[in-house]
Amino acid sequence: MVKINGELLEKDGKTVTEMLSDMEISGQRVAVEINEEIVPKAKYDETILKDGDHVEVVRFVGGG
């Protein structure tokens, strides 16, 4: 199980790209951190979620 934004989900073995796609989130407007480390955008395809990972997906919206 992977904790994503505080919620335990069965995403073990998925890549960051797959996780974002499951969440219907565009990769252009997010920042993803796993266990307090930023995941570089260039590594979304190759970074695989592991059991026990703490993932934060920050979605940005417009306005400022």
């Binding site: 252009q28 407007r29 997010v30 955008k41 920050v58 919206v61 306005g63 400022g64």
Partner: protein
């Protein structure tokens, strides 16, 4: 009337904030990226609090559509925001060391232009640009504190705007959902609330108070 001396202004701040906090504010260096509704209000709050060094950056010029929420004056229309904000900050805090850049921040220039700041404030307008800055800072300048704002459009209640600590050095303010692209305009009071959250997060970090 002549303006007060540097010492007089410092003493007035010290009386209000305490000597220990004022010393920390005085030696702090903060970069404000984007000088729109968030950034112009954040920069003013930090200058008033006595932050010693401010680096303010925007590539845009003052437009009539900004005046509903951004800290500019009708007689500044057409001026680069970095220049207009610098003029205002110099009136508010004449002894603050201000660096201003009239440039668009990119993945190439962010590591160079922001390298001297202790704390970086993301105050952009567009969601993709917010994400670009946040990713770029977290990847390239991991020793910096970063305070970002997302979700403050419309007139939803004040109290759903919060400050979250996403990771040790990354704070996120806003309601996270109120998107200007959903047809909700930006309203001065609500943008100010988010700007206040961001400015206050910066001041707490400077004070060494990292909890939210």
């Amino acid at each position: 009337m002549p303006i007060p001396s540097k010492e007089e202004m410092y003493r007035a701040l010290e009386e209000r904030h305490g000597a220990e906090l004022q010393k920390k504010l005085d030696i702090a260096s903060v970069a404000v990226c984007g000088l729109g509704g968030l950034g112009s209000n954040i920069a003013i709050a930090l200058a008033r609090a006595g932050v010693g060094k401010l680096n303010i950056i925007d590539f845009d010029s003052v437009d009539i559509s900004n005046l509903n929420r951004q800290q500019y004056f009708p007689d500044q229309l057409g001026k680069p925001k970095s220049d207009a904000m610098r003029d205002t900050l110099e009136r508010i805090a004449p002894y603050c060391s201000i660096t201003s850049y009239n440039v668009k921040l990119t993945e190439e220039n962010i590591p160079v232009l922001l390298k001297d700041a202790d704390i970086i404030v993301e105050a952009f307008d567009r969601a993709d640009q917010k994400a670009m800055l946040v990713n770029c800072v977290l990847e390239n300048l991991p020793e910096k504190y970063l305070v970002s704002g997302s979700g403050m459009a419309g007139i939803a209640p004040s109290n759903i705007i919060t400050t979250k600590r996403i990771t040790k050095r990354f704070y996120l303010c806003g309601d996270g959902v109120s998107d200007v692209e959903n047809g909700m305009g930006l309203v001065s009071s609500r943008v100010l609330i988010c700007a206040g959250h961001q400015a206050h997060a910066v001041i707490r970090i400077i004070a060494g108070e990292f909890d939210i």
